[in-house]
Symmetry: C2
Subunit: 364 residues, 2 copies
Amino acid sequence: MDLDELAADIDWPDREAARAAQQRWNALTKPAGSLGRLEELGTWWCSVRGACPAPPPADPVLLLVAGDHGVAREAGTSAYPPEVTAQMVRAFLRGEAAANALARSASARVRVVDAGVDADPDYAADLAPGVADRRIRRGSGSIDREDAMTLAEAERAVALGVALVDDEVDAGADLLLLGDMGIGNTTVSAVIISLLAPGDVVSLVGRGTGIDDATWMRKCAAARDAVRRGRPDKGAPLELLASVGSPDLAVMVGALLRAAGRRTPVILDGPLTSAAALIAHRIAYKSRDWWQASHLSVEPAHAAAFARLDLAPLLDLKMRLGEGTGALLALPLLRAAAATLQEMRTFEELGVTQVERPPTRPRP
Amino acid sequence: MDLDELAADIDWPDREAARAAQQRWNALTKPAGSLGRLEELGTWWCSVRGACPAPPPADPVLLLVAGDHGVAREAGTSAYPPEVTAQMVRAFLRGEAAANALARSASARVRVVDAGVDADPDYAADLAPGVADRRIRRGSGSIDREDAMTLAEAERAVALGVALVDDEVDAGADLLLLGDMGIGNTTVSAVIISLLAPGDVVSLVGRGTGIDDATWMRKCAAARDAVRRGRPDKGAPLELLASVGSPDLAVMVGALLRAAGRRTPVILDGPLTSAAALIAHRIAYKSRDWWQASHLSVEPAHAAAFARLDLAPLLDLKMRLGEGTGALLALPLLRAAAATLQEMRTFEELGVTQVERPPTRPRP
């Protein structure tokens, strides 16, 4: 299935349900607009569920996509060695990482996906046999001087994202969360976001896992070289993914497009998920309305991507971990918004005195 | 029990537990500091629970304190008539307001307190016999030209706050949330906050429930008159509460002081709760460390109070409803922080490669 076919399946969320939600918010026993962004969130939920009110998510699933990035090993852009990616996948499978604790706290399932971890295929066989079976390749090329992968690999990665979404939606998932794990992936994020959103790449390169000045300078140089390599492919998503992307990023692009095509909402997380969103949005401009930005991380590229997508993150907790942690923290807000819209009563239903004059615009 | 006795019971939260929490965050399988404010929140929770790790709150209780304010009726400072306060108390007791939906979503109990509603004592007898039994008085004086209540009433209101906290903590509450309901209470908030935090009162008067320009001008004039009336009592908390406060505000002051004295943490909500916090902080400077700011509302006085208290709200969702809705939305973040600190494993426990050099300071 090629990208144009994926795009052709994508329509807007339900505008009728959104209108009904807005009307219901205004009729509830509270001053109009007084729940601020919670109202917007509840309205979005109704639009993507196609109903008003719509019950809170019943089966949210975090797609936690892991992959290694050659640029981390070759150009030394991370504070951690690449082995950590595989070790963290093992931690996810054992349920002992931040994502697992937050998923339990928010009642979400976690699906771990090895898209391109640089480890022996049996590195986690004791915990989850076959976790590496669908892997696109072992690690990616160092994007500052070689392609991340071949075009055929990029195609397979997109198809893997599509298949994962089909799996989960067929199994009943009514909300997807996207999370990343991979040493070096903030370099890839900065490169992609610099190519698709305004901003010189050096202004978008952050401290990632917490790198020192020397590593940051190496990271900037590698990112700048990669941007130069990737520029000719700016307009061609699959070529861009192959030249300066990565298998995990391509899986996310496939997942975002398929989710929108299957009318399934997605909560975005950190910079890599927003880089995937930028690419998917280029392919299918209606896809964006199916997504919710969860949090603003301290990585500068993140804000640039959201500005380009015109998405406003719900939380600003100065986080920079990834793994879907921001998306998982936003999930209770979404549940709360949906429950409030569903369970509150209107002034009329309660016999409460209504305001005589229409409320004025609140002060900025 | 007078205010000085309440203050004498208050000590700092457990610094040893906070230190242990900070060390544990740094040892967990993630880059140091990468969970940002979630780490601060988890550390605070350990300090107020006196243990590391400390299990998430098991029995959080929202104290939802209602009262009417003469200034709304006399000076016309609200978009809603005072009858709405009693009607909303009935909605709370029926479980049909925003606070109820959010409390269910966050698994918190709601305790409705009528501190000074301006309605017949039997207005909710069919729903909760005795809800008005402990009421301090029926509505408050119009603070722009008369006292809100007598000194004896202010004392009784503080004592009611103390008794409520004793009730709940004795019944097992391990976390309190503070919420307000009362037409006119943003006028009182602006007056108190203007007296105790820097800022001319007119710059602190907001649109409340959504008032028009003419009402806003009346509200400003009333607030300015009240500030003039209250200035001589700035340094005397009980006198201040009596002259330009209100029974519900005084209940909150008593509750905040008693909670700190009983080593029980509190999540603050909107402007009235932060006005109560300013007063309680003047009485006992150690009390502040027992509190967490949940959200920043669009009322300008709110930010001024938090700046003075040096508390940083977790959420900024442009809300202005009150009822404890912001505190209830912050509760899942607190649960998540506590669960993460408790359930994650350390690098050592998992055998994950540790970073070779200490992480550098993230870029601002």
